[in-house]
């Protein structure tokens, strides 16, 4: 999407509900939003989802917000590696894991 200001809470929730191990939102650098505050809104929504995850017993670190510009390719790669490593340490999304167990049991 053209601006992280369009990221709604439900987008992040649905990704996790459908089994994503982690979700990160990559917004523009703070203070550099073309639409003024889109990335700041996204930041709040990510924090909100983290609180929801805590309340349902899931690790809030499965969602994260990063800020970088379109010209920072190496930084994007670094963020991807960082998030991948974080998720690897957290393990698979427990919802998906349960689903797999059910399939095996069936």
């Amino acid at each position: 999407m053209p601006c992280t200001g369009r990221v709604a809470i439900i987008h992040l929730m649905k990704a996790l509900e459908k089994g994503a191990d982690g979700v990160f939102v990559a917004g523009c650098l703070e203070g550099d939003c073309h639409y003024q505050a889109g990335n700041l809104r996204a930041k709040k929504r990510v924090a909100y989802v983290q609180e929801v995850l805590k309340s349902i017993g899931m690790d809030p670190e499965r969602v994260a917000m990063y800020n970088l510009s379109a010209g920072q390719g190496p930084r994007f790669a670094e963020i991807c590696r960082e998030m991948t490593e974080r998720v690897r340490q957290l393990g698979p999304n427990p919802i998906r894991k349960n689903g797999e167990r059910k399939e095996k049991a069936a």
Partner: protein
């Protein structure tokens, strides 16, 4: 409009955990405006509940619906074929909506998903504030358009009290003193002489003291 706040997820889980199918029912009226019980909140709550129960390895189906209003029978009737398919309904409308849902679908357990708080206004995006206590006998004409019942912590009819300091209430430094606001407004309107005539004791029978209230407008009746 009527303002509400979502209940903690754990409280909701505790009341619905023994059902196989639960319908989360939102209301696109007041509670949608205060972002507690509208379509978006239905989606978020239903998703959170699905994840919670999946995580617990508990197979509970969570359905979603959002009505135009839950305080009118016509809109509640729209889910008459849907409700029987569920074991319980979690309504995230205000207390009136939850009760009307329970009256209409009396054979089904109906649970509240929000706490209904007050009648208020949107101060800014994400901030809502109380303005009316629905006392049934409006005195705004004599108080400069600022309600002492809703905005004075003591609901004083003649204030301010000794707890008012620098325009703030003793209850909290964040809370404006309702009577200080009234004083400033009446000063602006050139009506400070109003303070020389005390308000009479209020007849609270028009408020909750008179029991549950009802309004009948004959010309509008069928």
């Amino acid at each position: 409009m009527i303002m509400a706040k979502p209940k903690p997820i754990q409280e909701i889980v505790n009341v619905i955990k023994d059902f196989d199918k639960v319908l989360v029912a939102g209301c696109n009226g007041c509670v949608a405006v205060c972002e507690a019980g509208g379509l978006k909140e239905v989606e978020i709550l239903a998703s959170a509940l699905r994840m919670y129960f999946a995580n617990q390895n508990q197979n509970i189906e969570i359905g979603e619906v959002s009505l135009t209003r839950q305080c009118d029978k016509e809109y509640l009737a729209e889910i008459k074929d849907m409700v029987p398919k569920y074991g319980a309904v979690l309504s995230i409308a205000c207390g009136a909506g939850v009760q009307f849902m329970a009256e209409m679908y009396s054979e089904k357990p109906i649970f509240p998903g929000v706490n209904t708080n007050f009648i208020g206004v949107t101060l800014e995006k994400g901030v809502w504030s109380e303005r009316c206590a629905a006392c049934g006998e409006c005195i705004l004409a004599s108080t400069g358009g600022i309600c002492p019942i809703a905005r004075c912590s003591k609901r004083m009819l003649n204030g301010p009290c000794g707890g008012s300091s620098n325009g703030k209430c003793e209850v909290s430094k964040e809370t404006d003193c309702g009577w200080h606001l009234i004083y400033e407004r009446l000063k602006t309107l050139g009506q400070l002489q109003r303070f020389e005539v005390p308000n009479d004791p209020k007849d609270w029978t028009t408020s909750r003291d008179g029991g549950p209230r009802k309004i009948i407008k004959e010309v509008s009746q069928a």
